[in-house]
């Protein structure tokens, strides 16, 4: 079938090149972070003779499986810096990439359900303000003004005692974000190579000199692993371990409904987070399954628990119909913070361990990873997030702000 709107809507937004025999840099993984890494390698560092190697199809992993929440209200200075950098980039990207991927700054409420929750939330709000991140603490009545369908009755198992609110937070259409980055990368000459799985690394002593792939050997002295749930599998091929564990994480959507949910609501305590997509689906996510898994599916009782939590918070969902559920594989770090930096192999860099919350960081992760790959040194944004923190003990414990919720 031909293109019914020639000149208006191209059939393909990027080329489908065969791999060259060598590149100045290779990014393994064609998800959001990989695409953003390649984009900033080209844009910020002038490296356009580069390739993205994707084992499946573009954005076929977590990039199009997440619940699209974007926010920067993290507790610690290091996290606030990188997530806020990301949020500022998100605010510019639709224009910069000339692609309206429906970035909607509709705010996020993080509910507090216990006295400890309230104390932690107030502390996080104050920390956010000190870091220039917009944040306020709302009473239950104020919560209901922002999101009228939230049940603030005291007569429930986990009543809403308040919430943090970040007005600049929001959602975006994740698959379109990937396409926007892909088109921009392609226009700058980046080769996006799909169906190209990395099966091994070529080394000269302790230095990486290329990768073996299902489409042949491709040489490069600079290689970045951006493989999310499969980071450990790649690291093992390169001969080292990462402090991450891969877990299934599930999400689901309802059928399409009239707009009823004007913001994003997250609750770590009862394990659910909810927004409404532009088309009208209620989008919900929960916590990870407890066991390690690469199956891109989880156990049904996790979904059941998540629906129960959603129903208590939003009684109006009582007759909503579930449309579909799916799972992704998330690589979780012991301190719920990511790893971006050098590896034990020279010239090989890693961006991994984002756990349940990597989507919101997509542009900043790419920004920092690109800087690290181009210069061989970490950017100030990712300097605290190196692998060495597990030896020095300088962990960045974001279980409170990351926890289950994204």
């Amino acid at each position: 079938m031909g293109n019914p709107f020639p000149g208006e809507h191209p059939e393909w937004l990027w080329r489908d090149p065969d791999p060259k025999s060598s590149y100045d840099a290779i990014v393994i993984g064609g998800g959001g972070h990989g695409l953003a890494t390649a984009y900033y390698l080209a844009k910020n560092h002038g490296m356009t003779n580069i390739a993205i190697l994707e084992k499946g199809w573009l954005a076929g992993g977590n990039m199009a499986r997440n619940t699209t929440i974007i926010r920067s209200n993290y507790l610690w200075d290091e996290s606030a810096a990188i997530y806020e950098h990301a949020l500022k980039l998100w605010e510019e990207l639709p224009e910069e990439l000339d692609y309206d991927f429906l970035f909607s700054q509709r705010g996020v409420l993080n509910l507090a359900h216990s006295l400890q929750d309230v104390r932690d939330s107030v502390r996080r709000v104050e920390a956010n303000r000190l870091n220039g991140v917009d944040a306020e603490f709302l009473t239950p009545e104020e919560v209901q003004k922002v999101c009228p369908i939230v049940n603030i009755s005291e007569d429930v198992r986990y009543p809403v005692l308040g919430a943090t609110f970040q007005p600049r937070a929001g959602i975006a259409k994740h698959d379109h974000v990937a396409w926007a980055f892909a088109r921009a990368c392609d226009a700058m000459g980046v080769d996006i190579i799909q169906n190209c799985e990395v099966t091994g690394f070529v080394r000269d002593g302790n230095r990486v000199t290329g990768v073996e792939t299902t489409r042949g050997r491709i040489l490069s002295d600079t290689v970045g692993m951006v493989a999310a749930g499969h980071s450990s599998v790649l690291a093992e091929k390169a001969g080292f371990r990462l402090p991450v564990q891969s877990h299934p994480l599930q999400a689901l959507v309802s059928e399409l409904y009239e707009p009823v949910h004007p913001t994003v609501v997250m609750s770590n305590y009862v394990h659910v987070y909810v927004s409404q997509a532009h088309k009208g689906e209620l989008v919900m996510g929960a916590g990870v399954d407890q066991y390690n898994g690469y199956g891109q599916r989880g156990s049904f009782h996790v979904i059941e628990h998540q629906m129960a939590a959603a129903l208590e918070l939003f009684p109006i969902f009582g007759r909503a119909h579930l449309l579909r559920t799916w799972g992704g594989i998330v690589d979780v770090c012991p301190d719920a913070s990511p790893i971006i930096g050098a590896t034990p192999v020279d010239g090989l860099y890693v961006n991994a361990g984002w756990g349940t919350g990597g989507f919101k960081a997509t542009p900043a992760a790419g920004w920092a990873m690109a800087h690290t790959m181009a210069t061989g040194e970490p950017h100030e944004l990712n300097q605290p997030f190196g692998l060495e923190r597990f030896t020095t003990g300088h962990l960045i414990d974001e279980h409170g702000a990351a926890g289950v919720a994204h």
Binding site: S232, R241, S246, Y291, N292, T392
Partner: protein, 104 residues
């Protein structure tokens, strides 16, 4: 939901169990003798194979005993269940060649 065979109670729902991560990770005999790197390795680094994985489970909703299992992290299929003082069983006959990363 997974169905898990407790060595003492038999087949029960996953919701009766808690997960304990990689099995056969011994506490260091002399922790104070470890370098920072070795201590980090013990504290934070665990195998994360795509394939058979020897792991710990505890039957919290039943006998409350810990035990070990070998489970395939691709299919979630349990390949063996055994007591936590037993060595990891040889499951190579059950899984074929691809046991990459499954060193315990």
């Amino acid at each position: 939901m997974l169905q898990i065979e407790c060595p003492w109670c038999g087949l029960r729902d996953e919701t009766e169990y808690k997960y304990g991560g990689q099995a056969h990770v011994a506490y260091p005999e002399d922790p104070s003798a470890l370098s920072d790197e070795e201590w980090a390795e013990y504290l934070f680094f665990r195998d994360n194979p795509k394939g058979p994985f020897a792991e710990r489970w505890v039957h919290t909703g039943g006998c409350r005993k810990w035990f070990n299992a070998v489970r395939d992290t691709r299919t979630y299929e349990f390949l063996a269940v055994y007591a936590n003082n037993e060595p990891r069983p040889d499951i190579s006959s059950l899984t074929g060649a691809d046991t990459a990363g499954a060193t315990a």
